[in-house]
C-alpha cells in the first residue's frame, strides 16, 4: 500500500505540474498597461507555490514509504527548533510574497483620477452592459432610471430629457476605447450587482447598485476583446457579455463624431 501511495502521489504531482507547464488553456495575451506587472506577479506566485506543492507532495510520499522499513515507531513528540525554524521560514516567505502583492495592488488602485483621462460610465443591468460617453461637452447628463429608463425607446439609462448636458451623451452597447490613453471607468448598476471582467486587460470590478465606483485602465493594444459578467446576477448571467474595441486615437474621435451625428 505504501508503494501504491508513493506512486499515486508522484503521479498526481507530475500530472499537475504537466498541466500547468503545458497549460492548453491559459491567460489571454495581456493588452493593458497593468497586464505585464500582473502576469509577472502570477509567474512568481506559480513558481513559489508550485515548488512548495511539489516539495509537499513528494515529502508526504517519501515519509509514507519510509515507514515500511521500521519494526517499531519512533517515540518522538516534536522538536521545537524544527518547528520554530519552519514557522519562521514559511512566514518570511509568505510575507515577502504578500508585500510584493500589496505593491502591485497599490499601483493598480490609483485613487486620484489621471488628468486628461477618457471618462466612460459603465452601467450593468440584467443582462446587458451600457457604456456612456459624455460627448463634446465633457459632462455626463443627469439620469433617473426609475423615471425615464426605457430600453425599448433608446433610453436604457434614463437620461433626463430636461438636462442639456445629456443631449450629446453617447450610449453604446460596446466599450470603444482609444489605445494608449488613461481611461477612467465609472461603474454603476441599475438592478443587482454585476461585475465588469475584461480578462485580456486583467481587469475586474464589481458594479454595485447605489454606488459610483471609479476605476482606471490603460489599453495598449488595438483589437477586439470580450467582457464577461463575473458576479452572479440572475438567469442570464452566463450570457451577459459585451465587446471591447480598442482603436487608435483618430478612429476613436471619428467613432464619437459618427455616433454624435446619429444621436
Amino acid at each position: 500500500m505504501a508503494i501504491a501511495l508513493l506512486l499515486a502521489l508522484i503521479l498526481i504531482t507530475l500530472a499537475s505540474a504537466c498541466l500547468f507547464v503545458v497549460h492548453p488553456w491559459w491567460f489571454p495575451a495581456g493588452v493593458s498597461a497593468q497586464a505585464a506587472a500582473m502576469d509577472h506577479g502570477f509567474k512568481v506566485a506559480l513558481w513559489l507555490l508550485g515548488t512548495l506543492f511539489i516539495a509537499g507532495q513528494i515529502t508526504l510520499a517519501f515519509f509514507v514509504v519510509r515507514s515500511r522499513r521500521r519494526a517499531k515507531a519512533a517515540y518522538y513528540q516534536g522538536n521545537w527548533r524544527f518547528e520554530a525554524a519552519w514557522t519562521l521560514t514559511i512566514a518570511a516567505l509568505f510575507f515577502w510574497f504578500n508585500v510584493s502583492g500589496e505593491k502591485l495592488w497599490s499601483r493598480m488602485m490609483i485613487h486620484h483620477g489621471a488628468p486628461g483621462a477618457v471618462q466612460v460610465e459603465v452601467t450593468g443591468a440584467q443582462f446587458q452592459w451600457y457604456f456612456r460617453y459624455p460627448g463634446a461637452d465633457g459632462v455626463f447628463g443627469r439620469t433617473n432610471a426609475q423615471k425615464f429608463a426605457h430600453p425599448e425607446e433608446g433610453n436604457p439609462l434614463g437620461l433626463d430629457p430636461a438636462d442639456p448636458a445629456g443631449r450629446d451623451d453617447i450610449v453604446s452597447a460596446a466599450l470603444v476605447l482609444p489605445a494608449n490613453r488613461d481611461i477612467e471607468l465609472i461603474l454603476h448598476a441599475q438592478d443587482v450587482i454585476h461585475s465588469l471582467f475584461i480578462p485580456a486587460m486583467r481587469f475586474k470590478q464589481d458594479a454595485v447598485p447605489g454606488m459610483s465606483i471609479h476605476a482606471q485602465i490603460r489599453p495598449v493594444q488595438p483589437g477586439n476583446y470580450e467582457i464577461a459578467c463575473a458576479e452572479l446576477c440572475g438567469t442570464g448571467h452566463y450570457r451577459m457579455r459585451a465587446a471591447v474595441r480598442v482603436v487608435s486615437e483618430e478612429q476613436f474621435a471619428a467613432w464619437q463624431k459618427a455616433r454624435a451625428a446619429n444621436e
Binding site: Q77, N98, P199
Partner: protein
C-alpha cells in the same frame, strides 16, 4: 388521557421512539446527525451531477426532470452549496462525530445539556426539510447562490426563485443558525465542565480541541448570520432598507427602497462566512491529526503547536472576511489589511501541515482505510491550501475572483479535504458507533476512486480560472472565449460522473457493514483515548457512573519500555510514563 404509573412498562413502540428517534442520548443524536448529513451529501452530489451535465450538454433530457433550464441550474447551485456547506461540512464533522465522541473522549457519559442537544438536532432537521422544499415550489429554489448577495436576494422580481424559494432559504438557514448555536453552547459547556478527573486541557485529544474551538466560532458566527438573515427578511417583507439602495429598476419596474447598502450584506455575510470555512475544516484537521498519530503508532508531532495553531486559526478566522471583497467596491485600503491578515492565517495552517508530516515521519504506518483517507487529506490540504496565499493577494485575486480558480481552491481545501476527513472518521469510529467493522477492501477501493476523482475534477479547474472562466455560468455558449473551454469542461463532467458513481462503493460498504460486518472488539485500532475503553457499540449508559481517571496525554504510542505499543489515557500511572 391515560395515566402511566412509574412502574408500568412503557409500550414497545413508544420505547423504540424514545430510544432511537426522540432521544436525548448524545450517541443517538450523533448518529442522527450522521444520517442527516449523509442524506444531504447524496442530494448535494446528485445536484452537482445535474449541474455538470447541463453545463456541457444543455439540451440533454434528464429522466423525470426533462431539460434543465438556466434557472434550474442556478437553483441547484444554491441548494448544492447550501447543503454541502451547512448540512454536510458544518454538520457531520462537528455535530455528527463531535456530539457522539466529544463526551466519550473527555470521559463524560453525556453532554452538558442533553435536552438542548435533542432540540438542536430537530431544529436542523426541520431546516433541512425546508431547504429541500424550496426545490419544489413554483419558481424553484433561490438562484442567488449560497452567498445570497443583495439586492438579487432582496427583490422578488430579480429572477425566478427569488420569491418563495428565497423566503424558504432564509427560513431554513435561520433555523439552522438556531440549531447550531444551541449545539455550540452544549459543546463549549461540556468541554469546560464535563472533563473526567485528570483530563487537563493539555491532555485533551486534538479532535476535542477542534470541536471546542469550532463551537466558539459557531456561536459567534451563526449569531451574526442569523441577524443578517432577519434583516434581509425584513427588507423583503417589512419595507426596511438595510441592503437595497434608492433608484433601482428591476424587470422594468421601479423598486421602492432607498438608503440601503449592498456591501453591508457582504460584510455581514462574510463576517460569518469566513469563520464558517474554519468551522467546516477545523474538526477535520483535529480528526486527521488524531488518526495520523493512531495509525503511525507515534505521538502527534508538536501537540502544543497543534493546539496553538488551532487557537490562532480560530482567532484570525474572524479578521480575514474582507478577502472575499477585494473587487466588491470596498475601500481598496481595506484590501491591504485583509491581505496581510489572510497571509497571517496561512502560517498556522502551514504549521499543521509540517506537524502532520512530522507525525508520519518515523512511524510504523498501518494502512487501514482511515489512514488512507487521512494521508489523502494531507495531500489535498497541501494542494488546496497553496492557492490560498495567491488568492490573498488583492491584485491577483482581482483577476481570479469569481472564476473557476476559486472553485478549485475551496473545493480542494474545504470540500474534498473535509470529506476525506469525514470518510476517515466514518471508517475509524464505525466500530464504536455500530459495533461492527467496515470492509477494508471496499474502503481502499473507495479511497482510490475518490482521490483520483478529486484531482481529476478540481486540478483542471485552475486552468479554467486562469483562462478567465467565470463561475456560476449555467451554460458555456454566452461568451465566446468561455465556449472555447468546453472540451476541458466535458472532461471534468465525465470525471464527476465516475467519481459520484464511485461513492456507491462507500454506501454499499456502510450499509452492508452495519448489518453484516464482522463484530468489533472494544478497541480494534489499539487506541489510547477514552472512547475505546468502552464496549462496542458504546453502551447506552456510557461510562455508567464509573468515571475514568486520566493519567496521561492522548497520544502515548510506542512508548519505550512499555509492553504494548499504546498506553490508554486511563491506564494506571505505574504503567510506564
Amino acid at each position: 388521557m391515560r395515566q402511566i404509573s412509574p412502574t408500568s412498562p412503557e409500550p414497545r413502540a413508544s420505547r423504540f421512539l424514545r430510544r432511537y428517534l426522540f432521544s436525548a442520548d448524545h450517541k443517538v443524536i450523533g448518529v442522527q446527525y450522521f444520517f442527516l448529513s449523509l442524506a444531504a451529501a447524496l442530494a448535494g452530489a446528485v445536484l452537482s451531477l445535474l449541474m455538470r451535465i447541463h453545463l456541457v450538454w444543455p439540451h440533454m433530457a434528464i429522466p423525470l426532470l426533462g431539460e434543465i433550464k438556466p434557472e434550474n441550474y442556478l437553483g441547484f447551485l444554491t441548494v448544492h452549496g447550501t447543503l454541502m456547506v451547512f448540512f454536510v461540512l458544518s454538520t457531520v464533522p462537528q455535530n455528527g462525530f463531535g456530539t457522539y465522541f466529544l463526551p466519550l473522549q473527555l470521559g463524560a457519559s453525556e453532554m452538558a445539556f442533553p435536552g438542548l442537544n435533542m432540540v438542536g438536532f430537530w431544529t436542523v432537521l426541520v431546516s433541512f426539510l425546508v431547504l429541500m422544499t424550496a426545490l419544489f415550489v413554483p419558481g424553484g429554489a433561490s438562484i442567488a447562490g449560497w452567498t445570497q448577495y443583495a439586492p438579487l436576494s432582496a427583490i422578488a422580481a430579480a429572477g425566478p426563485g427569488q420569491g418563495t424559494g428565497t423566503d424558504l432559504w432564509l427560513i431554513s438557514i435561520g433555523l439552522f443558525c438556531v440549531g447550531t448555536v444551541l449545539s455550540a453552547i452544549n459543546f463549549i459547556t461540556t468541554t469546560v465542565r464535563r472533563r473526567a478527573p485528570g483530563m487537563d486541557w493539555m491532555r485533551m485529544p486534538l479532535p476535542c480541541w477542534a470541536w471546542f474551538v469550532t463551537a466558539i466560532l459557531s456561536l459567534l458566527a451563526f449569531s451574526i448570520l442569523l441577524a443578517a438573515l432577519v434583516m434581509l427578511m425584513l427588507d423583503r417583507h417589512a419595507g426596511t432598507n438595510f441592503f437595497v439602495p434608492a433608484g433601482l429598476v428591476v424587470s422594468g419596474r421601479a423598486v421602492e427602497h432607498s438608503g440601503g447598502s449592498p456591501l453591508l450584506w457582504q460584510h455581514l455575510f462574510w463576517f460569518f462566512g469566513h469563520p464558517e470555512v474554519y468551522i467546516a475544516i477545523l474538526p477535520a484537521m483535529g480528526i486527521t491529526s488524531h488518526l495520523l498519530s493512531v495509525f503511525s503508532r507515534k505521538p502527534v508531532f508538536g501537540y502544543k503547536a497543534m493546539v496553538t495553531a488551532t487557537l490562532a486559526i480560530g482567532a484570525l478566522g474572524f479578521m480575514v472576511w474582507g478577502h472575499h471583497m477585494f473587487v466588491s467596491g470596498m475601500n481598496p485600503y481595506a484590501g491591504f489589511a485583509f491581505s496581510t491578515l489572510t497571509t497571517a492565517i496561512a502560517v498556522p495552517s502551514a504549521i499543521k501541515v509540517f506537524n502532520w508530516l512530522g507525525t508520519i515521519y518515523g512511524g510504523r504506518i498501518r494502512f487501514s482505510t482511515p489512514m488512507l483517507f487521512s494521508i489523502g487529506f494531507v495531500s489535498l490540504f497541501i494542494t488546496g491550501g497553496l492557492t490560498g496565499p495567491l488568492l490573498a493577494q488583492p491584485a491577483l485575486d482581482a483577476y481570479l475572483h469569481d472564476t473557476y480558480f476559486v472553485v478549485a481552491h475551496f473545493h480542494l481545501i474545504m470540500a474534498m479535504a473535509g470529506l476525506f476527513a469525514v470518510f476517515a472518521a466514518t471508517h475509524f469510529w464505525f466500530p464504536k458507533m455500530f459495533g461492527r467493522m467496515m470492509n477494508e477492501r471496499l474502503g481502499a477501493l473507495h479511497f482510490w476512486i475518490t482521490l483520483a476523482g478529486a484531482y481529476a475534477i478540481f486540478m483542471p479547474m485552475h486552468l479554467l480560472g486562469i483562462a478567465g472562466h467565470p463561475r456560476r455560468y449555467s451554460e458555456l455558449t454566452g461568451v465566446q472565449y468561455v465556449a472555447a473551454m468546453a472540451p476541458l469542461q466535458k472532461f471534468i463532467t465525465v470525471a464527476v460522473i465516475v467519481t459520484v458513481a464511485g461513492q456507491l462503493v462507500f454506501l454499499v460498504n456502510l450499509f452492508w457493514s452495519m448489518l453484516k460486518g464482522p463484530r468489533a472488539g472494544a478497541n480494534p485500532w489499539d487506541c489510547s483515548t477514552l472512547e475505546w475503553t468502552l464496549a462496542s457499540p458504546a453502551p447506552v449508559a456510557g461510562f455508567a457512573g464509573r468515571l475514568p481517571v486520566v493519567n496521561r496525554g492522548p497520544y502515548e504510542y510506542s512508548v519505550p519500555g512499555a509492553e504494548v505499543d499504546f498506553l490508554p489515557q486511563d491506564a494506571p500511572a505505574t504503567h510506564g510514563s
